[in-house]
Amino acid sequence: MATIAGDRQTASRGAIPATRRRSRLMGERLYFQIGLILPSVLVLLLFQVVPIFIGMDASFRRWSLYDPDKTWVGLEHYRYVLSDTNFLFTVLPNTFLLMVASVSLSLALGMAVALLLHRGFAAQRLVQTVVLLPLMIGPVISSTMMRWTFNDQFGVVNAFLGWLGLGQPAWLADRWYAFGVIVFTDVWLWTPWFALLLLAGLKSLPKEPFEAAALDAAGRWRVFTHITVPMLRPVIGVCVVIRAIDCFRTFDQVWLLTGGGPARSTEVFSIYVYMEAFQNLNFARGSAAAVIGTLIIMVAGLALYALINRFMDVSR
């Protein structure tokens, strides 16, 4: 575009005063740029921004199928959600617990896998492919797989435990066992993602500080804690923020594994919203919960971001 504009400019030199020529050319360029981004802006507006506002509007009204008037009720739904003991004492703790457990475990495991792959060994390519497999399987499929793996009668886990002569718990019928299975599935799903990004980070680190550390008699653990981790901090920081925010809206794994049960004890934020809106058909209450969740994750995200920024400043 720039060259076309440039050619025009030289061709028409002298015919039109410089300022007018420039403004017309700039305008042409602007139209072109707007034309390029317009389709995606329209899609974004229609399918993301407008629904968000409709949803927010709904959260202030009595928006159910039997009330066509959609009466304005102000903060009533917010008051309901914020005084719902289930939301406050089960859903939110579960959501944050899942976030902390899943992110920290998959970060630790991903780091271990990345270090292993970075060191290089004979069957590295094969192992690398196998390790990355969970990334290529849809969460719905892997969650279904996990549900069967942990099935109390037919699952491999219990078959194996039985073979060892150990107890065979009803995995998905007990709150903490079920929650454990959810965390396990989430970690299984996301470890490769961490491994992949951390491996890329490791590969981009300069090798001289590691050589200097080898001459400085630093053992493996000291190299890891004093050289590798500080140098990887920016990568770790970005991974944790992205993953933590993403984890807040976990839905598929929990829905397929426990459906929030037993007795709503493993319900997380997305499930709560879904249940309110589409099971109880109380769209307004669901919307209110969604807005509250958005606010929470915004605050949490900003806090995390600030924390990690400070963390990275230290490394600078």
């Binding site: 300069p206 500080p209 200097a212 550390a213 080898a214 400085d216 004093h226 140098m231 230290v314 600078r316």
Partner: protein, 363 residues
Amino acid sequence: MAEVVLRDVCKRYGNYNAVDNVNLTIRDKEFVVLVGPSGCGKSTTLRMIAGLEEISGGTIAIGDQIVNDLPPRERDIAMVFQNYALYQHMTVYDNLAFGLRNRKVPEDTIKAEIDRAVDILGLRDLLKRKPRELSGGQQQRVALGRCIVRHAKVFLFDEPLSNLDAKLRAHMRLELKRLHRRVETTAVYVTHDQVEAMTLGDRVVVMNNSRIEQVGTPWEIYAHPRTRFVASFIGSPAMNFLDGKVRRNGSGFYVQAPGGTFHVSDQGSSELAAHDGGEIIVGLRPEHISLSETRTENALHGRVELTEQLGAEQLVEVIAEGAKIMVSRVDAERELKPGTPVYLTVEPGQLRYFDRITEERLV
């Protein structure tokens, strides 16, 4: 304090020999410089001494111990890298202390050592800073400090000055020399810069094509190069090489070169005796040539092609029968126009003769 002995040291990557049969003894407290063009194997040799590269063949001994199978940390060496390799997230103090802490040295001893090092290097005010807040020269001094506090047996330097600008490089070169005189540790220094090699080294090792070409004091290397490569690599501007024919003249010899003939000294005659009538290469250093505009006996006749004014002197390029000859140390005020006919003479004792095929010095 220790001697470093390399015996038949090789480094192979598949079929490629990066270092080929290197034999070298570096004496205790000696400052040895490995110099050569890039890819000649000098850095690889240094990294094998450090333990950062495996040794494919031969042995390396530090002190009385063969270190082939020792990991770097057990070799008791310290190294300065080209890009300093400082720990960016640690303060200068922690950078200096890291190696000592890893060796479980008590904190007060560490503090005392760092105190001593910062006094030597003038880093006292920078201890709380992070490396990225320092200039290149300051970072380099921190890297040196990391070596000093360690009291390692051997210091290794891998092109430590090449990231600095010319002025700072000259300054740091002097500092390094002073430092070595003060700490008296065996040092191996790798560079591709012949000026660094000549000024810093007690001895200079010239490497080319994975092999050592010559080992000697800077003066030996300059005055008595063993091969054409060494002669061309050391000295600036580089030595001129002319194709010559050896001719007998009664009991002595002379050499016929493009544009004229050279008389040969008595010493030279014995060097050339076996090559009567043969074709050789004559080497003459630009700084040993005197240039005259009046006809002179036993001189090469040529024409001025180009002059380069350096202020203190001029460099003059002369073409003699198609051969290019560089002349330096020409009075800066002399006016030499391109095309001026000139006569070049050299003291016979300053000529060097090389075999045209092996390119080795004739003896």
